[in-house]
């Protein structure tokens, strides 16, 4: 019984496991995502590979923003 070896999915020829070299080349065109600082509630735009740190107060806990999509609920 021979089975095909598991192929690690590749992204543009690079390894899916991000090494620093892979990130830095992508960081140029990757979109920045806005996070909220857990300490001062400042909006912190981060790009891929950026240090996870608030630019105002240096706090290291950041939260994702709420979705911009509409969410539907039943009032029950």
């Amino acid at each position: 019984m021979s089975r095909e070896a598991y192929q690690v999915p590749s992204m543009g020829g690079q390894s899916g496991f991000g090494n620093e070299g892979g990130f830095s080349s992508m960081a140029v065109d990757s979109p920045s995502v806005v996070y909220l600082c857990g300490e001062c509630s400042a909006r912190v735009p981060l790009k891929r590979g950026d240090q996870i740190r608030c630019k105002d107060c240096g706090h290291r806990v950041l939260y994702k923003e709420r979705t911009k999509r509409m969410v539907q609920f039943e009032a029950r």
Binding site: S41, R66, M70, V71, Q72, F73, E74, A75, R76
Partner: protein, 375 residues
Amino acid sequence: MAPLVPSQEELQRRRIIGINAETVTNIPSTDFPGHWPGESHAWALDQFKDNFKVEYHRNDPYEASFSLIGLDAAVANAFRRILMAEIPTLAIEYVFIQNNTSVIQDEVLASRLGLIPLKGSVEGINWMHWFRKPSEDDDGPAPPGPSDFNTVVMHLVAECTKNPAAAADETDPRKLYHNAHVYAKDITFSPVGRQEQYFSGEGTIQPVNPDILIAKMRPGQKIDLEMHCIKGIGADHAKFSPVATASYRLMPDIKIERPIIGNDAKKFAKCFPKGVIALEPVTAEEAGRKGSGYEGHAGEQKAVVRDAFNDTVSRECLRHEEFQGKVKLGRIRDHFIFNVESTGQFESDVLFLEAVKVLKLKCARWKRGLTDLMA
């Protein structure tokens, strides 16, 4: 053989439910054929019309109290149940949340919004149809979506900001910030299509109680949502129930069987709510009558029943040794004191008429079912 006709006293005795210290007696009604040997008791419309009485005690827009006298408990209970569960009203059903950064979670906020009682022009609400929900198991054509005749759109948009004009040592968040508290009055109605004509001016759709607190916020927090209100019935969800309470109680009946005089009378009056028992002086005529129990007590205070309506039937008087065998408590079986408290969409007395209408419709439907059965 002509049916036996019971005496008035006998009929009166049968109307009373006995309430004793530990037991309740004579509970079920017996005015149906076959219970009393030789008596008819067949139900007749003209007899019912003669005996049935309605008395209004109180008729405020949002609270009505009235007596229905001379009908069976089954019918009275049907009215009560219909009032609570089968009269349609408008309530928020769908909440579309664009943004909610307040501390209150989306689903909790939606649930809170749903429970807010709404009011609007009665004509408009009666004009509105049911909103047909898309069925969960996908068979049959999808029902038409929201329209002006089945959905009312409302918005709630609020953002909390700092109030620069607040005093430096202010601690009240309502003065310190703008929109710190979001109330039901912040909900705005967005009329669609023909709703413009039906719900204008006084009749615009709005919360009955403008000061219901929906959420509390702090600067930087925001609520932005749209609500769809539809018609529904209380059987589906309590938010659609048009009444806060709809209940009835039976008219209390107090019989003083042997005289209660002097200090005992004062104590007896204290066993009941104010105004139920009054004190009257024993007249010379009563004192002179042999075997009345008042002999030689002329001028003393005796207890009389003034107004049994307000009694709570607490049975307190049955606990005391001195009143043993002197008083008989009861309730009148066919005297229903209704209390209907509206949530605000309809007036209370209109609600009861609506309940009658619903029961009539149900009877008509059942009658149709019967004729179909025969065919």
